[in-house]
């Protein structure tokens, strides 16, 4: 079963996912940009898969390609999951 896409839960899963794909944990926060975190398109695909497994929310490539910061992705997942 998938969890409910509550803001804190989504934030935690995405932060953990970013760390898993190699972002520096101390640099991860809502305002951080993927560019600054050195997170590339393939990393985002992996994070989208983690989000889908956890919350059942599907993030297509075109959904995330224009998002620059971690917070924007968290907000998108929360809004899609509600």
């Amino acid at each position: 079963m998938t969890a409910k896409a509550e803001p804190e839960a989504v934030e935690k899963v995405i932060f953990d996912g970013l760390a898993e794909v190699g972002a520096e944990p101390s640099d991860i926060n809502r305002e951080a940009t993927f560019e600054a975190l050195d997170v590339d398109s393939l990393d985002l695909v992996e994070i989208a898969q983690i989000v889908e497994d956890e919350f059942g929310v599907e993030l297509a490539g075109e959904d995330v390609q224009d998002l620059k910061t971690v917070g924007e992705v968290v907000d998108l997942v929360v809004s899609k999951g509600s």
Binding site: L42, V45, E46, Q49
Partner: protein
Amino acid sequence: MRPDGAALVTGASGGIGAAVADRLAGQGWPVGVHYRSDEAGAAEVVERIESGGGSAVALHADVSERDAADRLVGELEDRFGPVLALVNSAGTRADGLAPQLKDEHWDRVIETNLSAAFRLTRRVLRPMLRARYGRVVNIASVVGPRANAGQSNYAASKAGLIAMTHTVAVEVARRGITVNAVAPGFVETGLTADISSEAVAAEIPARRPGRPEEVAACVGFLASDEASYVTGTTLTVDGGMSA
């Protein structure tokens, strides 16, 4: 080196796929032996692997069906864990000169040889990306890059498979996942039972058809740890036919 996981071989009830399943089992992979109609053939492969001390399970699906990839991979994962090696060997032909080739024959060959291989690849990339390890080997053909009258559908499917292989390879190379193709020439199997070996042999520099094991050996190499820097390429196994 290699994380724990399983290998899925499609079309493994006979021919090249069966030889590949044997080979990968010998290299220590638990193997999903996929078949469509030849249940007995798949059971025989599983039995052979188990009696050699390996692990295997027979899995049934028509890969031309859209949901087959998810189901197949899910079943194998339930049994042996994440699928970290995939060999797409399921393939079919439906020959005819282009003016007479029916939509149904075009579609069946493209679906089975190309679209199904893509859907399976897409599905297994999930566990492979997570594991930072993966081996995908697609059984293409010398027909595709090269013309063969009467096989416009088959040639298009195999050329497409090679192109897909090369592109996916560059997408995932940085994650320790390799994606390659093997292109056999003429191999004696059920697929080529209607073709006279003697007639073809004259056109092969090696003067004989290939054996499934000779193709499987190349797949075994590409699936091994030693081949970790080989990706996005096509290994031709054809007795010199296209040299």
